[in-house]
């Protein structure tokens, strides 16, 4: 590349690098990539390569890939990430952007401001829709228990759920005489539990949405009304 004769004996020679060692790893970490002749012709000499090279940031940040399921699957059961798996995402992004843009244009009433905050006013607040179930749940029992104890326990249970499932699951399966402990989508216990849990939250939300005039008898704070 450079034919100049470099004086290797001069001052600073000890630190001057005369050759850049080429970082080379010949394999792709044991992964079989899409063969070159099947790829889109976007190589280093293509005008779009500068766009594609931005994607290199992804593996640089993410480190090497582990051993994936696809590495052990026959070719016909897999497809390359680009473009086969990638192409829907830009479309999804545009569709979502258009959707929120249309919502912003047509449903501006949700964004209208109330008067500026005045601590002297007495307003009964109503939380956003995704907190309505909790708002309604708190009314069903002693405040500390419903607002702090149960949500904390539920949150922690959610956090360590993989371990609950892995430890308690096989024992339950053994007691029931099952061959294994299936994933929730095929498990009558964890699957039904999940559906019931979601139904409970949906019911509480609907109850809150029904409004302050919609009241039902309850053991405590009788009757309990919507929000």
């Amino acid at each position: 590349m450079d034919d100049r004769i470099i004086d290797k004996g001069g001052p600073g020679a000890a630190t001057a690098a005369t050759e850049i060692p080429i970082v080379e790893v010949d394999s792709h970490g044991g992964h079989v990539l899409e063969p070159e002749w099947k790829r889109l012709p976007i190589g280093p000499d293509h005008i779009l390569y500068s766009v594609v090279v931005g994607l290199a940031l992804f593996p640089i940040l993410m480190g090497a890939a582990g051993h994936h399921l696809a590495d052990d699957m026959p070719d016909e059961d897999t497809h390359p990430f680009f473009p086969d798996h990638f192409w829907p995402y830009p479309i999804i992004a545009v569709v979502m952007l258009v959707a929120v843009g249309l919502l912003a244009y047509f449903v501006q009433k949700n964004l209208q401001l109330e008067p500026s905050a005045d601590p002297r006013a007495a307003t009964i607040p109503r939380p956003d829709w995704y907190f309505l179930f909790l708002f309604q749940f708190i009314k069903l029992g002693p405040e500390l228990f419903m607002a702090v104890v149960i949500p904390t326990v539920a949150g922690l249970a959610l956090l360590v759920w993989p371990f609950i499932d892995a430890i308690a699951g096989p024992r339950v399966a053994k007691r029931l005489g099952w061959k294994g402990w299936p994933v929730p989508g095929r498990n009558i216990i964890t699957g039904t539990g999940w559906v019931l849990f979601l139904a409970f939250i949906a019911l509480l939300t609907l109850w809150a949405l029904a409004g302050p005039q919609f009241c039902l008898p309850w053991f405590i704070n009788n009757p309990v009304c919507g929000a």
Binding site: T78, F86, A121
Partner: protein, 239 residues
């Protein structure tokens, strides 16, 4: 005239410059190899099912929230002194006067709502297909923490317009956050969040800081960890 010297100084084709740049980069870090590994790694066909894209949608929405949030912060004033407070009038200014301000604020608002929906769908999918199972337990836990971060985002963001509903909803939130016994602990939590005896200007300052500095930094970090785990584990086996 000797034309051969002219051809030597001719401007190279852009493609040649690009190839030279790529070669220069490749001598220092295996960029081309990285691109190849990013793009041409194979993905199982079952991952084409529509419910596998919820996580990607969450990612797109979080990026959208970060971008619109930065734009909103150009005009928003986190100051709650007086009635109407500068915070309130700045949101009004964004909504009514700033060019396309209504659109940016609307996209941020609706994006936040859509984000909650997509996060819940993503989580439901991961639960349903049992993707939280070994060796992916840690990634499930990172995800649950991110769910809590998203909820903290919505709670703190709700106060920022500083209108009546924002104020009184936050009063309820802080009252609940101050419930845990003993009373000193509850009082301490309330004091930390509120920055004073009542919900006031220090509260807005704190919620703004949490919403704009603390939570975005945390969620960016955790998204990185989340993706790094996915990169290590690959997509989970079908149900």
């Amino acid at each position: 005239m000797d034309w051969s010297s002219v051809s030597e100084v001719a401007i190279p084709h852009p493609r040649e410059i690009q190839v030279a740049v790529v070669e220069w980069l490749d001598e220092r870090y295996p960029f081309t190899k990285s691109v190849d590994e990013a793009l041409y790694q194979r993905v199982p066909n079952f991952a084409n099912a529509f419910y596998y894209c919820f996580g990607g949608m969450v990612f797109i929405l979080i990026v959208l929230q970060l971008l619109t949030g930065i734009l909103l912060s150009l005009y928003y004033v986190p100051d709650a002194t007086g009635i109407p407070a500068p915070a309130y009038t700045s949101v009004q200014f964004i909504q009514n006067t700033v060019y396309l301000g209504w659109l940016i604020r609307g996209v941020h608002f609706w994006g936040a709502n859509l984000l909650i929906i997509m996060v819940l769908l993503h989580m439901a999918r991961v639960y349903w297909t049992g993707s939280y199972r070994a060796p992916r337990e840690l990634n499930w836990m990172v995800g649950v923490v991110m769910l809590l971060l998203i909820l903290a985002f919505s709670l703190t963001g709700y106060l920022l317009p500083w209108d009546q509903k924002a104020y009184f909803a936050t009063e309820v939130t802080i009252k609940i956050a101050g419930l845990p016994p003993p009373p000193q602990l509850g009082e301490f939590i309330r004091e930390i969040l509120q920055g004073g005896p009542v919900v006031g200007p220090p509260t807005l300052q704190r919620f703004f800081t949490i919403h704009v500095f603390l939570l975005p930094a945390l969620i960016t970090l955790l998204m990185y960890v989340h993706f790094r785990f996915i990169r290590a584990h690959g997509i989970s086996e079908p149900m």
